[in-house]
Amino acid sequence: MRFNSLAFRLFAAASVWTFLVLPVAGFAIYSLYRQDVSESFDDRIRTLLTVILADSVERAGFEPGMPGDLGEPLFQLTNSGWYWQIRPTGGAQGRRLASPSLANASLPSPYESQVEPDDQGTRWMSSRGPANEPVRIAEMVYVLGDEATGPRYSFTVAGPLEWLDERIAVFRTRLAIALALAGAALLAVTFLQVRYGLLPLRAIERRLAAIRSGEATSLEGELPVEIEPLQHELNALIKSNQDIIDRARTQVGNLAHALKTPLAVIINEANEDKSPFARKVAEQASLMRDQVSYYLDRARMAARAGTIGRVSEVRPIAEGLQRTLERIYGDKGIRVLLDCPAGVRFQGERQDLEEMLGNVLDNACKWARTKVYFRAATRPATTRGGRVRLIVTVDDDGPGLTEQERARIGKRGQRLDETKPGTGLGLSIVNDLVHSYGGRIEFSASRHGGLNVRLDLPAA
């Protein structure tokens, strides 16, 4: 996932949300729990205090009685954190009672520390127990006997705050783990959600690749409504692109027709006459003819450059050329032998392939004695990430070319810009076309006696 991606944006937004919300929620839950646990702790202490007070006062005369069994064994255990204590306060004299856990120690009195009582008459404070442990202390002050003169006794119960803190700490750990798991789960779900939500984009990517490679001509299929406008626009763009090319082609063709007939007239007229003027006109007209065909070919190529990929089946093209050439060279009785399996496809315009193969085959027919051999096959990619190639070879059984001659026609292809129009071999346009497709053309001696031309072109 790269930073500059929709997936990253969506994922980052969701993550920020998760990391913001989860701690806040955690803190809220923690506070509520803490409050709840503290309150129930206080309730328990208060309940114990009430029981001790009631029990003791029931058994009392002027002295408080010993409370009965409280059902809390920790009151028996020394320094357990759970203590109770009954003692006179406010200067009164009298009996002092305490839980065995308190031993000889005593608990501090909120009453004496001037803590105000709550609405139930209980005074609360946090302090230290006999073992210097933090404790929660609740105290009620009760007058035995006559309200005005009776002795004032302090009833006190203490509970260990450690126990409370422990409970809260355990809860906090568990809560943190639970929230962390929830966070992780949320992130995972978000990740999947983003992937799922962006699936149509991947589909578009694949279909666009299919258009580029020529397997499709437009962006087809159901797409989410949000992307539909994009789909329409893209298809319109592809179509308008195609229309522009077709129009350019037609206009180039019209221009060719418009120029070539008058040129034919001029050339023939000038050839009839033997005056120096006519010779000059004939010479210049021939030059114009070459220039016209050269630049028309270039214009056709420019019209094609940058088009969205098309695929052309090789076999029907080869068969059409075979019929045509065998007829044109019927006088010589030339046979064009095809070896081209169905399904071999060229990545590019049909007209361009026709032009390349037509010129190469025509050249071969011109020089051949009786036979021209045409072979087309795909060669799988040789390197990783390489592309499938279309290999076309054309052989003839004619006289062939010497090594120097072959080198010369090969060289002409490399210096495209210096190529003069009308090289007479018909291979100049083949060279240009092959190079415009990033292909290669090679010449060698054929085992059939003549020239071997090998074209290496992109296959589909």
Partner: protein
């Protein structure tokens, strides 16, 4: 040999007619597709030169209709559309050769000669009949190696007989193939030229087949 030229450009049409006539062919010309189609459909041409971009009816449909109707004469397509796809389409429609504009007249004439020869079953540019020899390239006739001087009308007649030597050729066929459509078909020029040829060529090679026509042969009379 009679040729139809279908070409809409008036200058080029005139040039073609002149050059072909000069080369010894009888030439008819049509300026648009409909006229061209009609002529080709009704007259017995030995060859047609057909432009593709024509007004009223395009060359490819004309050609297809001719071929469908069983017209067998060779057709040379003459067009500015020189892409191989155009050539393949033209040949598939039934053309025999394809010449791209602009062209050299000599080139076209050579193609015309080759097609005429091929259509009458001759493989080389020289046609022989016994001691008589016709070079279609140079339009020269010789007898036992000695050149015979002929006028253009005489040459046309002999060339047609040479192309079809051994076969009986009727007077009507000769008129149809040697003269363009404006020729007065009732005149007796054919007989006159046959008479002249018989005088120039030794060995009584042009036989009259009574009621049928003429036959050029090197064989002696089978009596």
């Amino acid at each position: 040999m009679r040729i139809l030229v279908v070409e809409d450009d008036p200058d080029l049409r005139r040039q073609l007619v002149e050059a072909l006539s000069f080369a010894g062919y009888a030439v008819d010309a049509a300026a648009d597709g409909e006229e061209g189609y009609f002529l080709g459909d009704t007259e017995p041409y030995d060859l047609v030169i057909l432009d593709l971009g024509l007004p009223k009816m395009d060359g490819i449909s004309i050609l297809e209709q001719w071929r469908r109707a069983g017209r067998k004469y060779p057709v040379i397509i003459l067009t500015a559309r020189d892409r191989w796809s155009d050539k393949v389409a033209g040949m598939d429609a039934g053309a025999d050769d394809y010449v791209a504009k602009p062209f050299h007249m000599e080139e076209l004439l050579a193609r015309v000669r080759a097609q005429v020869r091929r259509a009458s079953g001759h493989a080389t540019s020289e046609i022989e009949c016994g001691p008589l020899r016709l070079d279609t390239k140079t339009a020269r006739v010789s007898y036992e190696g000695k050149p015979i001087k002929l006028t253009s009308h005489e040459y046309r007649l002999l060339a047609y007989l040479m192309h079809h030597n051994g076969r009986v050729v009727s007077r009507t066929e000769l008129v149809e193939h040697l003269y363009d459509q404006d020729f007065d078909r009732d005149s007796n020029t054919i007989e006159v030229f046959i008479g002249r040829l018989r005088k120039k060529i030794p060995g009584d090679m042009i036989k009259t087949v009574r009621g049928l026509g003429y036959r050029l042969t090197a064989e002696p009379d089978e009596v």
